[in-house]
Symmetry: C2
Subunit: 359 residues, 2 copies
């Protein structure tokens, strides 16, 4: 193998060495059947001897389309997204495509920047979990003819594919569960986030709370859903929330939390336990996503499970279909979340015990 220069070795060098034309080398590479066995072997030897590696840029330039798709996630440090990414890769790999994985980290400027790079790379399409409202950049991508499939986000309209989970239902499941257990003062963590997913989870929880109406059948007071400032969805933010909650006067202190994701829940749990708050008897916690770490948290965490890898697979399939060029029909599948109850919310609570002070 030639030293230090294999990557500057072109198909022309191979042709020279094998004593054939460049067209023939290309044929050996792409349609070996049209080349005679003898020539084929000669070319293959030359390729091996020179350590020739195709130049993907040149291929792509000539072909007009690349062999890659883009995946732009909100937070690569969240295991939810790495699981989604696994599903995406599975499908992409089966189709012979590479995945360009980028992380917006929740920062719109990063998101825009990465979309730009993906456009410059002429990816066949982009899978993205967008931040906040659909950005102009997203529309620009579509106008440029790059298919975009929204990931973990409902589409505002039928003009694009979107793979989502029914987050209103998820929020409701979490809250209903806590209400059933007798909790009346519930706090929703992460609610200050502007992510629509989070807002839907909160709305679902609110709906469940509202549905209980006045003095419950169990004699408890009217339930309420508190909110705390803070829009980050990280373990650290969960820890801070714990401090805030414990800082509240006992009469107004919630007895349970619905967390916008598991990272928050894990941080919250950790800090509560560290301060001697007994979970679940003194305080119950429900997370969201059911990441692998949820079951291994300070107290095994009840969580709203979402089909993570399946979400990624489905999104990738839709993207490939759309990029395929055939007559594509946009779809907006919505998966149903399920509640996984673990120890962190297992205790029952007497609603009457939480009668609020007369205000």
């Amino acid at each position: 193998m030639s030293r230090e220069a294999a990557l500057t070795t072109s198909i022309r060098d191979v042709a020279g060495r094998a004593g054939v034309s460049v067209g023939t080398v290309s044929n050996v590479l792409n349609r070996p059947d049209v080349v005679s066995p003898a020539t084929r072997e000669r070319v293959r030897s030359a390729i091996a001897e020179l350590g020739f590696v195709r130049n993907e840029s040149a291929r792509h330039l000539r072909a007009g389309r690349s062999r890659t798709i883009g995946l732009l996630v909100l937070d690569i440090a969240n295991p939810f997204f790495t699981d989604v990414a696994r599903g995406v890769e599975e499908v992409a790999e089966a189709a012979g495509l590479s995945v360009l994985l980028f992380n917006s980290g929740g920062r719109p400027d990063k998101e825009a920047e990465h979309l730009e790079v993906l456009a410059e790379q002429r990816v066949q399409g982009v899978l993205m979990s967008p931040i906040a409202e659909l950005m102009p950049q997203v529309w620009a991508m579509r106008e440029r003819g790059v298919p975009v499939v929204l990931l973990d986000r409902r589409s505002p309209g039928p003009e694009q594919c979107a793979v989502a989970v029914d987050d209103v239902l998820g929020g409701r499941l979490a809250a209903e569960h806590l209400l059933e257990r007798g909790h009346r003062r519930i706090v929703f963590l992460g609610g200050a986030s502007t992510l629509p997913q989070v807002q839907e989870r909160r709305a679902g929880a609110q709906a469940a709370v509202d549905a209980v109406g006045g003095a419950g059948a169990d004699g408890g007071p009217r339930p309420s859903l508190l909110a705390l400032p803070g829009n980050e969805l990280t373990v650290a933010a969960g820890r801070e929330a714990a401090a805030r909650i414990m800082g509240l006067p006992v009469q107004r202190r919630p007895t349970a939390a619905v967390c916008a994701n598991d990272l928050l829940a894990v941080g919250l749990l950790q800090e509560l336990v560290r301060h001697g708050v007994d979970v679940p008897s003194s305080f119950a916690v429900v997370g969201y996503d059911d990441i692998d770490f949820a079951a291994a948290a300070a107290v095994p965490l009840s969580s709203v499970r979402r089909p993570r890898a399946e979400l990624g697979r489905r999104a990738a399939e839709l993207l490939l279909d759309e990029a395929g060029g055939g007559h594509h029909h946009h779809e907006q599948p919505v998966f149903e979340p399920t509640l996984v109850v673990r120890e962190s919310s297992m205790a029952r609570r007497d609603p009457a015990a939480d009668q609020e002070e007369p205000s």
Copy 2:
């Protein structure tokens, strides 16, 4: 903006629209200062009107080098690696490079495949945490002239850059800590992995155990380091290990574990706690990596901390230096790990209580 075709809009179309030559458009893009303000504006308007986006493949083809580096990690689901990736991205971004992130998932075939893709993409260099022994593919990459920096792995020789952590020390720190606490029968989890990093951790732990020698000063028996089958480094594998440990007869059952990484430790903890084993008083656990979830585990996890983002940053810096073309001096920095003691290993144990049955 033209519809549906912006990505097939070339610099030539822009030139036509602006009434200039393609060379001038290119100049506006790359050296705007050599173009007169009036022309510059005209070209910029044309670009905006047409929604023109540079074709990176064509740029790259002409330039001969791409604006990307490759990052190939062992397990993207392990937060350790996402933290490392964050460090890498930081440095790459500052240099105006994109990072192509791939996951080998510990599978050599995937690793080879992804390296091939990276070579075809003509990345400026590759950062990788290799599986097992250095593969022929890695040498091939170097022979092709693609700089490769080993990540989380000591280099066998001085002919390449490698960024690592002193895993022998790390293993030793973990074991010494447990020995000091009075543990005499310690199990090492994950030891069947062929990853050199893991073997070094085990060797370090073994050294610490051996150093205690005969009947300890504290009157306890000669300490021992057990091994269990199982080479996976996942939460699930940690759970399985718990079952194995609890299946051992009490006289031979270890009283503490050093885990090859935190995923194992978290799984182990979870299952031990679930079966009512009190951690740390009945069983102590020390993990490795100190990922964010360690502190939030079933019992806050003692762990050997490694400078994760710093590892990524340093590796990326070395890669950029090597790819830069100047006179590059290979370096093999080795970072020192530190032990973070948390509750999972805090109890003291009386060594005499663990006198082994006479064999």
